[in-house]
């Protein structure tokens, strides 16, 4: 950290002067959210590798020009200490945002996040506040191979004390980040790397009151429960089957912990058919939990058993042809929808 004073305020690429509502990529929306929050809260500090340059996805690009190097801090490649430092800085009264570019690197900082970040409030009997935000790039990016293509949704969502968000659109990314930056406890933003360059409408609005779930597409015949990039897949599948007269509802879980159980119940009790869609394998993955919730909440009205569609249980291969076989496609989702619609016990 240098002690240079911030450069004159110039806006990040992302947005500032833009008319509202505007359009932005998912990455730019994250950048805009950090920008807008940092303007309002002087204690927000970004920590991460090459965050000043905004490498590699542009989610912090230009922020150093606005807020200076004391608030946009390049860290050495020291994931464990950086995460611990984030926990400590939060405990010490500021709001750090720790960036972890690829989920595989998170494992190096997991002890600090899970053993300290998530537990300090409880272990201290409520005294300690750890308003830490952790951003983690999840999922495949396209031939980045096994160490750079991982999802940790299910594990993180199962850690009591961590709030875990999985936005699906630019607007949700913005909202999730703004919301996270006013919480008193650690929040993990799981950012699907396939979404970074996707554009969408963006209103740089006020901080949302909560982050729960979103009906991306209302429907009557069947509910797809999903999150993050799964929403993209689900919407494509829904479109595909709409031609055949099947009316699919796509419910995105913007928050995985806490999980909007009531929202899930509302949807699945209405449609009576459920497809759980995730990138990790069904066994020990996120789909298992979505399935459990749907079954528990609606077993008495389900018209077919809940179906789970997830990734294959394999370290992600490098070569594109094999990688394409790992993650659920809109086609596979459409097929599962067909199966569910035809169901008779």
């Amino acid at each position: 950290m240098t002690t240079t004073t911030p450069a004159a305020a110039t806006a990040p690429d992302a947005a500032p002067g833009a008319a509202q509502p505007a359009t932005a990529t998912f990455a730019a929306a994250l950048c805009a959210a950090q920008h807008d929050a940092m303007r309002l809260d002087e204690t927000i500090v970004l920590l991460g590798q090459d965050v000043r340059a905004g490498f590699p996805f542009g989610a912090t690009k230009g922020l150093v020009d606005v807020f200076g190097p004391d608030r946009v801090v390049n860290t050495p490649i020291s994931e464990a200490a950086t995460m611990g430092c984030g926990v400590g800085a939060a405990l010490g009264g500021i709001r750090p945002v720790v960036e972890v570019d690829f989920a595989g690197f998170l494992l190096l900082g997991l002890d600090q996040l899970v053993n300290n970040g998530a537990k300090l409030r409880y272990m201290s009997g409520g005294q300690a506040s750890v308003p830490l935000v952790v951003r983690v790039g999840q999922g495949p990016l396209g031939s980045f191979a096994a160490q750079h293509s991982q999802t940790q949704h299910a594990y993180l969502a199962g850690i009591p004390g961590l709030t875990v968000l999985a936005p699906a659109t630019a607007q949700q990314a913005y909202d999730a980040m703004r919301w996270a930056l006013v919480q008193d406890d650690p929040v993990v933003l799981l950012e699907d790397m396939r979404l970074y360059r996707r554009g969408g409408p963006l209103t740089r609005g006020p901080v949302p009151g909560s982050v729960t779930s979103t009906v991306h597409r209302p429907g009557t015949d069947l509910t797809i429960l999903t999150f993050g990039h799964g929403v993209v897949t689900a919407l494509q599948a829904a479109q595909e089957v709409a031609a055949r007269g099947i009316d699919v509802e796509v419910l995105g879980l913007d928050s995985l912990n806490p999980l909007d159980v009531a929202g899930v119940a509302r949807s699945v009790r209405r449609t009576g058919r459920v497809l759980c869609l995730a990138d990790d394998p069904p066994l020990f993955g996120t789909a298992a939990t979505l399935s459990l919730v749907a079954t528990t909440e609606a077993h008495d009205v389900l018209r077919a058993p809940v179906l789970s569609l997830g990734g294959r249980a394999v370290p992600t291969p490098y070569t594109p042809g094999l990688e394409a076989l790992v993650y659920p496609t809109p086609g596979a989702a459409a097929e599962a929808i067909t199966t569910l619609m035809k169901w008779t016990d």
Binding site: M1, T43, V45, D70, R71, V73, T75, P76, S78, A80, A81, T82, M83, G84, C85, G86, V87, G88, A89, A90, L91, G92, G93, I94, P96, D111, Q112, N115, N116, L120, R121, Y122, M123, S124, G125, G126, Q127, A128, S129, P160, G161, T163, Q183, D184, D185
Partner: protein, 322 residues
């Protein structure tokens, strides 16, 4: 090891230090008894013999400075001003415990007194203290944060990552290694290669020294220097040579398996209470008076803890998030 010029200490300061060390000593004896009686649960790590490190170092801090501790942390808590009755209630798992009985000996916390927490993952308090120091710096405060850890923690990589960050960012943090010669049954020499943790710290750009951890005046003198430096952006590491007189945790005998009686007795002759009494010429009467006072405070603490109610079931799901 640096041989410090021992600072002249006034009788009053010396007496206060002696009193705090006596309090810690009695407290831990009572905690150990509490464990044997089934009032203290799980496990308990006492640091009897190591009191001078906590008292010398923390005594030099301001109230607004802060401390992060590890599994052997009662001394740090008490030296930072955590009321003994609240700490004992925590060990008893009671509602009046500093952590409402949810943390226990390994996770006592008292934010109001700048005792920011106790972390039982070896080495884990180190980057957290570094982060607290970062927050202090960002907020424009010149408070320092002190991380305590054992010789066992000096082979956790996160220490070196943290030293690097502290040096790079000129953070007001002090790393205190309580080298008591063993990590459970493993002797320092069987775990730590090279010239030692002080030399290691220097190689990361952090000034460091090794001092006599049985001499509270030596610790205090080093502490004052280092704290002044840290406030000015020069982080420091100090290795305090000390010894635990008892076993690693409940059930572990003081000697027999990995160290022999003679070694323990040798160190016991350098009991920090005795060393201070001699150096400062406290006199038997004053020492006895301070000891009696400590005994009385601990008796009251035990009584307080015993009377405090156990948390009701509603407490279970409280304090997870705000």
């Amino acid at each position: 090891m640096t041989t410090p010029t021992r600072p002249a200490v006034d009788r009053r300061t010396a007496a206060a230090m002696y009193g705090t060390m006596a309090l810690i000593r009695r407290f831990e004896q009572a905690a150990y008894r509490g464990y044997e009686q089934g009032e203290v649960h799980g496990t308990v790590h006492v640091g009897i013999g190591q009191e001078a490190v906590a008292v010398g170092m923390i005594g030099a801090l301001r109230e607004t400075d802060s401390v992060l501790s590890h599994h052997r942390g009662h001394a740090h808590a008490l030296a930072k001003g955590v009321p003994p009755e609240r700490l004992m209630a925590e060990l008893y798992g009671r509602s009046d415990g500093v952590s409402r009985g949810k943390g226990g000996s390994m996770h006592a916390t008292d934010l109001r007194r700048g005792f920011l927490g106790t972390m039982a993952i070896v080495g884990s308090s180190i980057p957290v203290a570094t982060g607290v120091a970062l927050a202090n710096k960002v907020r424009g405060r010149d408070d320092v944060c002190v991380a305590f850890f054992g010789d066992g923690a000096v082979n956790q990589g996160v220490l070196y990552e943290s030293l690097n960050l502290a040096a790079l960012w000129r953070l007001p943090v002090i790393f205190v290694c309580e080298n008591n010669s063993y990590a459970i049954t493993t002797a320092v020499g069987d775990a730590t290669a090279g010239p030692g943790v002080a030399a290691r710290a220097e190689a990361f750009g952090v000034q460091a020294e090794t001092i006599d951890g049985q001499d509270v005046l030596a610790v205090r003198e080093a502490a004052e220097r280092m704290i002044e430096g840290a406030r000015a952006g020069r982080p420091a590491l100090v290795e305090c040579l000390t010894y635990r007189f008892m076993g690693h945790s409940r059930g572990d005998p003081a000697h027999g398996v990995y160290r022999d009686k003679e070694e323990v007795e040798l160190w016991q002759r350098r009991d920090p209470l005795r060393v201070l009494a001699e150096h400062a010429g406290l006199g038997d009467d004053l020492a006895a008076e301070l000891t009696a006072e400590a005994r009385e405070r601990v008796r009251a603490a035990v009584e307080f803890a015993g009377r405090s109610p156990v948390p009701g079931p509603a407490a279970l799901m409280e304090d997870i998030v705000k």
